[in-house]
Structure formats: C-alpha cells, structure tokens
C-alpha cells in the first residue's frame, strides 16, 4: 500500500472510530446477565443434556431438550417484578416511528417476550393469558405465516421490562397487528429484547428482524413455558 493510501486508510478508520461515541452501559446489567447465564442456562443445559441422554440413550432427545425453553426459576431469579403497568396505547407509542429511524432506540429498557399458539397465524393469537399468568411467557418454535413468509415463531402476549427494572405486561390483540413482524431492540443493559413492529416498516427503519430462535439464542433471555398456568396456548 502506498503511504498515501495507508495514511488515508488510517485517517478514515480513525474518523469512523471517533464517530462511535458510546459510553459503557451500567455494569450491573452485564454482571447480572453473565452470572444468570452461568448460573441458570449453562447448568440447566448441562443437566437437561445429561438427563436426556441418560433417559433416552440418544443424542436426538438431548437436542430436543436443549431446545426446550428454560424454567420459571430462570426468569424469576434474574428479574425484578412489580414494575408499573403499561397500557396498550402506551406500548403503541413506543413502537418505532417509521419516519424517524433513530426513534427505535427510544424504547431502550423495554423488554417483550413474544410467543403464541401453535401454528397460529396472526389472526389466531390469544392474548387472554396476559391476565392470568404472573409474568410467565411461552416460547415455542412454531410456524406462522406472515405476509406469505413462513416465520418460525409464535406470539401470544407480551412482557415489558421497564426502565426502572420492573416488569409489566399488556395484551395486544392480533387484529391490531395484521402484519405482525418480530423485531428486536437492545435494552439499556445491552441485552437483546423483543418488540413487535408492523411488518410494513420500511427497510432501514432502524430495526433488524431475526428469527425468534436466533434472537433468543443471542439474547440469553429467559423464555419460559407455562401453557396451562397462563391460560393457555394450545399445544
């Protein structure tokens, strides 16, 4: 590389790097996440794997178990309950303004777990469970068709993690979201959290859509399954 090009590259990289001006988020979130991850998920995964292998004698069963969502303890041990409730209208206000890509970040601190009934399309979602379960959520790798695309996700009700650390929840009727799409945000602790957004969001609206399984894997969020207790998502 000629000196000139090298210098320009170095200078350009320095300018690009300087444009990234982000202070470190509170370390508590990181430590909570790291310890919770270690304490629950890894242990749970190991135990589940051992049990599955020992019971079935096969690796396939272990894989199935590993894909099963974690238990309630994982969520309760790692989160604080008792946050203020948030209404649907308030929630809607937090949805990204498609005309302003930067607004998507204003929902920092919002945590939403998304799940729903098996094989349901957007019109079949049942959000009644919201009033019955304490904060449990359900996640299962079901398929739903949204906008003609097959999505491996299910949606039932939402859990909000508020900026003050509390959790709240609200129901959202599917009719309000005819073209539901799963998008994610990162909360103030830089944990990946979920949000629902209209699928007609323009590209570049500041959102990245990923499969929920992928999102869950990346987020280390605890997704728990309580179909009966929460009033049920049919299985």
């Amino acid at each position: 590389m000629t000196n000139d090009i090298e210098q320009r590259t170095r200078r350009g990289l320095a300018i690009l790097a300087a444009s990234v001006d982000r202070s470190a988020p509170p370390i508590e979130g990181l430590i909570n996440r790291a310890t919770r991850h270690t304490r629950t998920r890894r242990t749970r995964t190991l135990i589940a794997c051992l049990v599955a292998v020992s019971l079935s004698g096969g690796v396939a069963a272990a894989v199935v178990v590993l894909r099963t969502p974690p238990t309630r303890e994982a969520l309760t041990s790692g989160t604080t309950l008792g946050g203020q409730r948030i209404s649907i209208s308030e929630f809607k206000q937090t949805l990204p303004d498609t005309s302003d890509p930067s607004r998507s970040h204003r929902v920092s601190g919002l945590c939403i777990d998304v799940f729903g009934p098996q094989g349901a399309g957007p019109s079949c979602f049942n959000y009644d469970a919201i009033s019955k379960g304490p904060h449990a959520s359900v996640f299962k790798n079901n398929r739903a068709s949204v906008n003609g695309r097959a999505h491996t996700f299910t949606v039932s009700f939402l859990i909000f993690k508020l900026p003050n650390g509390g959790l709240s929840k609200a129901a959202v009727t599917a009719d309000n979201y005819p073209d539901i799409a799963l998008d994610y945000f990162v909360d103030s602790g830089r944990r990946l959290v979920f949000a629902l957004a209209y699928s007609d969001l323009p590209r570049g609206a500041g959102l990245t859509t990923v499969s929920p399984r992928n999102a869950v894997r990346r987020s280390h969020l605890d997704i728990v399954r309580y179909p009966k207790e929460t009033g049920g998502t049919p299985r």
Binding site: M1, G12, A17, H37, T208, T209
Partner: protein
C-alpha cells in the same frame, strides 16, 4: 470467574476497554448497534472466565474479533433487512474509507482494521485470526489493492 470475584478489577477493565472495543467491532461490522451487542457478549464471556484470563485486553479483543466473524456468518438471515445503526459519517475521508471497507471481504476488513486501526503487527493479527502470518500478509495485500482502487 465466580459471581463475586474481582468486581473492581473487572469494572476497571470494562470502563477502559468498552469504547475501544465497540469501535473495533463497529469498524468491522459497520454497525454500532451490532458492535455494542458483540462487545457486551465479549464482556459477558470475560466475566465468566475472569479467573482464568491473564490478559483481559487481549482476551476481549480476540473475543470481539471472533464474535464479529460469527456475526458475519449468521448475517445471512438478517441481510434481508436493513442493519440497525449504520455508521453515519460526514467527513469525506471517513465516508470514502467506510465505503471502501464494504468492498472488502469480512476477513480482509478484519485484517485491515486490526492493522491500521489497532496498529497490530502481522504476527499479532495472525494470532487473533488463527492463521499464519503469511496469510495475513496475503489478506492485507489483497485488501490494499482494493483500497487503493477504491480510494483513488
């Protein structure tokens, strides 16, 4: 690292390395949001392995680089949608280099960023990328040719 061990030291490392690592990841991925996520993951890993890590800065750098590479691999699904938080630059040099970086392969981009931003030697880059120094030379040579063309 146990849950309670070395919190002060860890906090110091966290405060010191957060921004540089975010910058490194942002240069590699082209997205600040993704970079922060990657760095958060790296620090989360560092926290778990704290008691076994001799050189936290090197450990985090390798973790960040590896996660950037992983991110590139799993980007296929996300590529259908726009990336969140792309680097927005007004400086012409910054813009030119940003666009030039996009013309590189992910591995070449990593090599360029590690060489010209992190100022690492070819040997150090080889250690991070887990390849031979000769491979790094080759990566840089090809990258430089592309950059020369793009920045002409």
């Amino acid at each position: 690292m146990s849950e309670h061990a070395g919190t002060e030291e860890f906090e110091a490392v966290y405060e010191r390395l957060w921004q540089p690592m975010v910058r490194l990841a942002a240069l590699t991925t082209g997205s600040t949001a993704i970079a922060e996520e990657i760095v958060q993951d790296a620090f989360s890993g560092l926290h778990r392995h704290w008691s076994r890590v001799d050189t936290p800065s090197a450990w985090v750098r390798v973790a960040v680089v590896n996660q950037c590479r992983s991110w590139v691999r799993r980007r296929q699904l996300e590529r259908r949608f726009a990336l969140s938080g792309p680097l927005v630059i007004e400086d012409p040099d910054g813009t030119a280099v940003r666009d030039a970086l996009r013309m590189l392969t992910p591995r070449q981009r990593l090599a360029v960023v590690l060489r010209y931003y992190e100022d690492l030697s070819e040997k150090q880059i080889a250690d991070i990328l887990n390849c031979r120094p000769g491979t790094v030379k080759s990566l840089l040579a090809r990258s430089n040719a592309t950059l020369k063309e793009a920045l002409r």
